[in-house]
Amino acid sequence: MDTTPAHDLSTRSTGIRGSDASSSMAAVWRALGTVVDPEIPFVSIVELGIVRDVARQANQWVITVTPTYSGCPATRVIEADIRQAVTASVGEVPHVVTVLAPAWTTDWIAPEALRKLHDAGIAPPGRAEASAADARPLRFTRAKPSVKCPNCGSFRTAELARFGSTACKAQYRCNDCLEPFDYFKPH
């Protein structure tokens, strides 16, 4: 199973020789870096960890992506946007492949993107691995790491609802500045 970071370009085989190969590869990655998640349009799909691989196979660019949630309605739009951005950049239509394993986790979101989420008023997710370990399906308000208010920085926050504006977020409220905000759930 391929668990190497998606950004690692060094070992990919491209089928194009020498520096041409690496410059085309870099161009494809740059193009992918301009594709955003339509529900969080300031974070690219590369930063979000959705792009798992870029490879050159049988004279075609093969972009491997993984969905965030099984039912995420943005998946189809993202695929279409990938085709468009890569085609515009390298002049050929790529093949987009979806893989499920290993399953996407918020731990793959790049640190830069976590900062962008915070700046946009969305509390970034804590470590998903840690939350899976503390999961106690019993209590309604289980002990969990405090979520920091993206507006005033207070940790005195409370969950209002298990789901927010999208499947990947929950609704919180800050008990100091009283602002409601979205929390990107560790997943």
Binding site: P137, L138, F140, R162, F163, K185
Partner: protein, 265 residues
């Protein structure tokens, strides 16, 4: 194709329909709450849970169609399987097709199912069929969140007002007879359990019982007494023998593609 592979694929197709139809039918039920949930946050939550289940249903049914094709069958698409089968061809549990009722009924149905679903998917992540294991690993992360939410609501309503307590208790009582089927393995399942593909649901029962009882106790609800279980003897939802509620649900769900078979959306 060798005979053994055929025998496995025919059963695997059926098993994938069970997994996919549970998710699809429960999603459709949750969708019935859209725009009329008891509070806005719950309206959104039940829809989001439904959305996760819809995504899972698509993965299971797409794979079912592929297995059907490689076994020499029609190789139906996810949409053909969802919209053009009759109720006796659906393989979902009787529990998930039960009507929404009041919100305690909806929560009880979700709670009893989620507690089972999370255990089932956890086992399926170890399936020898890589595709099954991959879908399960994706789905189980979503369902862990579902089980926290539904358990939380059982506690909140059970340990709430006199009215919410009485409704929650009666919802659990009314649905209890549909839970036996979840742990009954028929020939199809036994064959696939032996092949290392399906989860051994029989082994999940004590774990389910213990998690369910812990939540009921916290919710000040009484665990239902043992009783006769609907469909547990091999004639239930998994074999296509359904309650009357499923046909009504399907009539609603399938009307558009059946009225306009060429419609694209």
């Amino acid at each position: 194709m060798d005979v053994h592979a055929n025998a496995t694929d025919a059963r695997l197709f059926d098993y994938l329909l069970r997994l996919g139809d549970n998710a699809l039918v429960l999603c459709q039920r949750l969708g019935e709450w859209v725009g009329k949930g008891p509070v806005l946050e719950e309206d959104i939550a039940s829809t989001n849970v439904g959305l996760d289940l819809l995504g899972q249903a698509r993965l299971w049914l797409t794979y079912a169609g592929e297995v059907e094709a490689r076994n020499g069958g029609q190789g139906r698409t996810e949409d053909q399987l969802a919209y053009f089968r009759e109720s006796n061809e659906f393989r979902n549990l009787l529990l998930v097709e039960q009507p929404n009722g009041n919100y305690a009924d909806t929560i009880a149905r979700q709670f009893l199912f989620d507690q089972w679903h999370v255990l089932l998917l956890g086992q399926l992540t170890l399936s020898r069929d890589e595709r099954v294991a991959g879908i399960a690993a994706k789905a189980v992360k979503e369902v862990r969140y579902h089980v926290e939410r539904s358990s939380g609501w059982v506690i909140r309503l059970g340990d709430g007002t006199d009215v919410s307590h009485a409704r929650m208790q009666s919802a659990i009582e009314n649905l209890w007879m549909y839970t036996g089927e979840m742990f009954a393995a028929d020939d199809t399942e036994r064959f696939l359990i032996d092949a290392g593909i399906a989860a051994d649901t029989r082994a999940l029962e004590p774990h389910w019982q213990s998690s369910v009882n812990t939540v009921l106790e916290e919710a000040t609800l009484a665990p239902p007494a043992d009783r006769w279980m609907q469909g547990a003897k091999g004639r239930g939802g998994k074999q296509g023998v359904h309650t009357e509620h499923l046909s009504h649900l399907l009539a609603d769900m399938q009307t558009l593609p059946r009225s306009y078979p060429d419609a694209r959306w």
